[in-house]
Symmetry: C2
DNA sequence: CGGAATCCGATCTGATACTG
DNA sequence: CAGTATCAGATCGGATTCCG
C-alpha cells in the first residue's frame, strides 16, 4: 500500500474530478460488457459472431453499442471487407492492448475468488 | 499475449458462463462506484463522509448501496462505534486489498491516457 | 453475416425530507 | 454524523423485428 499511489497524489481531494475525461473513460472500460469485449480481443482479431459467443449473454444492441464506444475511444479497430456476405474484424489497437493488459489480472482475480465470496 | 491466458483455457467457449458467480462479482467490482470506493479505501480506513468526498459525485443512495454490496461480498469491512454522534469506519478486508491491488493499475492507466483518448 | 430501429422494463440518479 | 425513505426523471439493458 506504500507505492504507486499517484492517484491520491494527483487528486488529494478525491479520485478523479466528477465528470472529467478519466471518469468517462473509466465508465467505458468498466462497463458491464466493455471488460469482456476487451479481454476477448486479447485472443486476437475476432468477428461479430465470435464476440457474441465469447461475451456470453450479450445482446446485439449492447455489442454494437460497446464496440462503437470502444472504437470511438481508440481502443478497438474495426475493419470491414466489402464482400457479400459482409465480413468485419474487430481487434485491439496498441492502446487497447495496453488497457487489456491491466484488465486481464482483474478477470483472473475474479475467476479465482468468485466462489469464495458470493453469498457470504 | 502469450502468457497468463488461463481465462481462455478455462472457458474455451467464452469468458465466464453467463450468470455465473464470476460474472456477478465482476459486475459488482466494475460497477460505476465500486471501483472508486475500493480504490479510495486503499488509502486506509475511511468514514462515510470521507468516502463521499473521495468518490466525488456519488449520491448517498448509491454510496449506501455500493458499500452494502461490497460488504456482502466480503471485500469491505464496516465497523461501527456505539457513540454519539455515530462513528463508522469502512476498510478493506484482506480479500478487498487483493482486489484493490489489481484495480489500482487500471485507474492509473486511465489517468495517464484519458486525455489522449476521448473525442478522437 | 452484421448490423439498425424500436419498444419496454429495470436500474441509476438527484432532490428532498426525516431519524437516532 | 451516518444514514433511511420516497419519488420523479434519465439512462441502461434486453427482446424483438427488420434490412442490405
Amino acid at each position: 500500500m506504500t507505492e504507486s499511489m499517484e492517484i491520491f497524489e494527483q487528486y488529494p481531494g478525491g479520485i478523479f474530478p466528477a465528470g472529467c475525461t478519466s471518469r468517462v473513460l473509466l465508465d467505458h472500460v468498466t462497463s458491464k460488457w466493455g471488460v469482456l469485449v476487451l479481454v476477448s480481443l486479447t485472443d486476437g482479431p475476432q468477428r461479430w459472431s465470435d464476440l457474441r459467443r465469447r461475451a456470453q449473454g450479450i445482446s446485439e444492441k449492447m455489442l454494437a453499442q460497446t464496440l462503437k464506444t470502444l472504437e470511438g475511444d481508440g481502443l478497438v479497430n474495426r475493419e470491414q471487407q466489402p464482400v457479400m456476405p459482409p465480413r468485419v474484424d474487430y481487434s485491439l489497437t496498441p492502446l487497447g492492448e495496453e488497457l487489456a493488459a491491466v484488465l486481464v489480472p482483474l478477470l483472473q482475480w475474479v475467476g479465482r475468488n468468485a466462489d469464495q465470496i458470493i453469498g457470504v
